[in-house]
C-alpha cells in the first residue's frame, strides 16, 4: 500500500473558452518544476500520464454535430473535481494532478477535458488518470447538450469506456 504524500498539488480549471491542451500541460509542468513542492511531482516525476478528450463530430444517434453545450453547477462542480482528484491521488499514491474541463459551447474537434497525473511509477499514474476520468464523468455535475440541425438534445448518460 503506497503511502500518500501529504498535500497533493491539485490543479482544477473550468474553462469557458477553447484551450490548447499541450500548452496548458506545459504550463502546469513548468509550475511544478518551480514550485519546489515536497511531492513526487515537484521536480519532475519518473512517470506522468495524460488524457485529452475531444468532441466527436457526430451525435449519439449519428447525426452531424454542430456543437456540444456543457452546463455545470458553479461551485459544486469545482469542489467535486477537487475532491475526486484528491481522493484518487491519495488512493493511488500519485503526486500532482491537473484537471481541465470545458464549459459552455464546445465545437467538434475541440478539447473538452485534459487530465494529467504525476507519480513515481507508470501504474499509479495511469490508474489514477483512468479512475479520475470515470469519476468526473459520473460524479462531477456536468450536463451535455448536443446541437444538431438547429435543435438541442440533452445527453442522458456517458459513452462506453
Amino acid at each position: 500500500m503506497p503511502i500518500p504524500s501529504p498535500g497533493h498539488p491539485i490543479d482544477v480549471h473550468l474553462l469557458e473558452a477553447s484551450f490548447q491542451p499541450l500548452e496548458l500541460l506545459a504550463a502546469w509542468q513548468r509550475s511544478l518544476a518551480t514550485d519546489g513542492h515536497d511531492s513526487p511531482g515537484a521536480t519532475g516525476s519518473a512517470a506522468e500520464s495524460h488524457f485529452i478528450g475531444r468532441v466527436r463530430p457526430t451525435t449519439a444517434s449519428g447525426e452531424p454535430l454542430e456543437a456540444l453545450e456543457l452546463e455545470h453547477y458553479p461551485g459544486m462542480t469545482e469542489t467535486r473535481l477537487q475532491a475526486i482528484a484528491e481522493a484518487c491521488a491519495v488512493r493511488h499514491g500519485a503526486g500532482a494532478v491537473l484537471v481541465a474541463h470545458r464549459v459552455g459551447r464546445v465545437l467538434p474537434g475541440e478539447a473538452i477535458v485534459l487530465v494529467a497525473v504525476q507519480a513515481d511509477r507508470r501504474g499509479p499514474a495511469q490508474r489514477c488518470v483512468q479512475e479520475l476520468l470515470e469519476g468526473l464523468k459520473h460524479h462531477a455535475p456536468f450536463w451535455k447538450r448536443e446541437w444538431s440541425g438547429g435543435s438541442g438534445t440533452w445527453v442522458a448518460g456517458n459513452t462506453p469506456l
Binding site: M76, T79, I112, L133, L136, K137, W143, A156
Partner: protein, 94 residues
C-alpha cells in the same frame, strides 16, 4: 415564484439543472419550508417536478440525484432553513 415574499429565514433555495430546468421552466426559486420537517423528496413532489405518470409518491426517480449545499445528499435528508437544494439529472461529463 412560489410565494411573492418568501420569508428567507424559513425558506430553502431550490435549483434545477439541464433537462430538469427546461422541463420545469425555472432554474432557481425560494420555497418556504412548511411547519413539518421537509426533505428534498418532499419538495420534489410538492413542486410537481416529476412528469412521469407513475411518479412514486415516496421517493425520487432513481436517475435524479440530490445535492444539499452543493454536496451530494440522500433525498430523505431533513432540510434546514437557508439550505440550497439542487435536483441533478443524469450527469454526463468529460
Amino acid at each position: 415564484m412560489v410565494a411573492p415574499t418568501p420569508d428567507l429565514a424559513a425558506a430553502v433555495r431550490v435549483r434545477l439543472f439541464a433537462a430538469l430546468r427546461e422541463r420545469a421552466g425555472w432554474g432557481e426559486r425560494l420555497v418556504p419550508l412548511g411547519a413539518s420537517p421537509s426533505s428534498a423528496a418532499d419538495l420534489w413532489h410538492r413542486l410537481a417536478l416529476d412528469d412521469s405518470p407513475a411518479a412514486d409518491a415516496g421517493g425520487l426517480p432513481p436517475s435524479i440525484r440530490v445535492a444539499i449545499n452543493q454536496a451530494f445528499a440522500a433525498p430523505d435528508t431533513p432540510l434546514r432553513p437557508g439550505d440550497e437544494v439542487a435536483f441533478l439529472p443524469p450527469i454526463s461529463g468529460g
